[in-house]
């Protein structure tokens, strides 16, 4: 293409008045080896435009949104908690509880038997308390010796 036309196109180009076709012409001209010396410095510009168009989006696109995943997970976790809650509620509901505790503590049918057992338990308790009291008696000895030294 003759130089005059290229110069004219360039002028139009910088005014923003070229069409796409004319711009392609310019790009083609500047991609050749025979660029006029005084236009040489425009070469990188058009070269850059062509080079940039080659760049591509390489990573594989994942269309699963993070949001959706979390919503699904939350729903799953919530239903799990709900299920566990229901199961525990059924197992430990007030209807079952008294029977279970009675069995565990051991209840007596006749009052005599109950009295006997209570008696035994209280006797055991007082026996243990007395053992404790005996060991506390030694403390009185300290009190005595203290009184010997520090006379009032």
């Amino acid at each position: 293409m003759e130089l005059a036309k290229i110069e004219q196109l360039l002028e139009k180009y910088f005014e923003g008045e070229t069409t796409i076709a004319e711009e392609i012409q310019l790009k083609q001209y500047f991609s050749t080896e025979q660029v006029a010396a005084h236009l040489e410095h425009y070469k990188p510009l058009f070269g850059y435009f062509s080079a940039e168009k080659e760049e591509q989006f390489t990573p594989t696109l994942s269309l699963k949104t993070k949001k959706q995943i979390t919503v699904a997970r939350i729903a799953f976790a919530a239903s799990l908690v709900f299920l566990v809650g229901i199961i525990t509620f059924i197992n430990y509901s007030p209807n079952n509880q008294p029977q279970q505790t009675n069995a565990e503590l051991g209840s007596f049918e006749s009052p005599e038997e109950a009295f006997e057992e209570t008696h035994k338990a209280l006797a055991l308790l007082s026996e243990k308390v007395n053992i404790g009291m005996e060991s506390v008696k030694y403390i009185n000895e300290y009190e005595n010796s203290k009184n010997l030294i520090f006379k009032k």
Binding site: Y13, F14, E15, G16, E17, I20, E23, I24, H41, Y42, K43, P44, L45, G47, Y48, F49, A51, E52, K53, E55, Q56, F57, P59, L61, S62, L63, T65
Partner: protein, 169 residues
């Protein structure tokens, strides 16, 4: 619309989205994240896409808005974007190193332009959109697009001539 159809639909312009994002965000990684986000947003809207005359133009507008938002939030948190991707992804032949260097100059000059002009240069000179399409994507009138484009091209020319004559920018 199933996944395959969607991927088929976005295939012609997903690279353009990526390049536009990269033009604004500069960093490769950020541009990839942005593209991913935009395409996922588009996928979420898949049922409404039939209402748009051009899904591509819609995607480009989304990209523009998304990236400008990103830049705004970055500036708000006082983070400056640094150029990290001057090195090309491909391994170039040694003899092209000098060419590559001058291409980097061009990239630097374009990156110094205001965002609006960057967008227009990207869409016109690299993606070769018609003025009408650019005007639609950017929600401007065609004359304004032309004026901005001319201004951007002239700025680049000025800087290039300077570099060419004095070797400085």
């Amino acid at each position: 619309m199933n996944q395959n159809e969607f991927i088929h639909l976005i295939a012609p312009f997903k690279d353009k989205v990526f390049r536009l994002a990269k033009r604004l965000l500069v960093s490769n990684e950020e541009a990839q994240d942005a593209t991913q986000d935009i395409l996922v947003k588009l996928w979420d809207k898949k049922n409404g896409l039939e209402n748009y005359a051009s899904v591509e133009a819609f995607a480009m507008t989304m990209t523009k808005n998304y990236c400008l938002d990103q830049l705004k939030s970055k500036r708000a948190s006082n983070l400056k974007i640094v150029h990290t991707n001057f090195a090309s992804n491909e391994t170039r032949v040694d003899q092209k190193i000098e060419d590559q260097d001058s291409l980097n100059w061009v990239e630097k000059m374009i990156n110094e332009l205001p965002e609006q002009q960057k967008l227009i240069i990207q869409m016109r000179d690299i993606e070769q959109y018609e003025f009408e399409e650019i005007a639609k994507i950017l929600d401007m009138n065609e004359t304004a697009v032309r004026v901005n484009l001319s201004r951007a091209r002239k700025t680049i020319r000025e800087k290039m001539t300077k570099t060419h004559h004095y070797g400085i920018s």
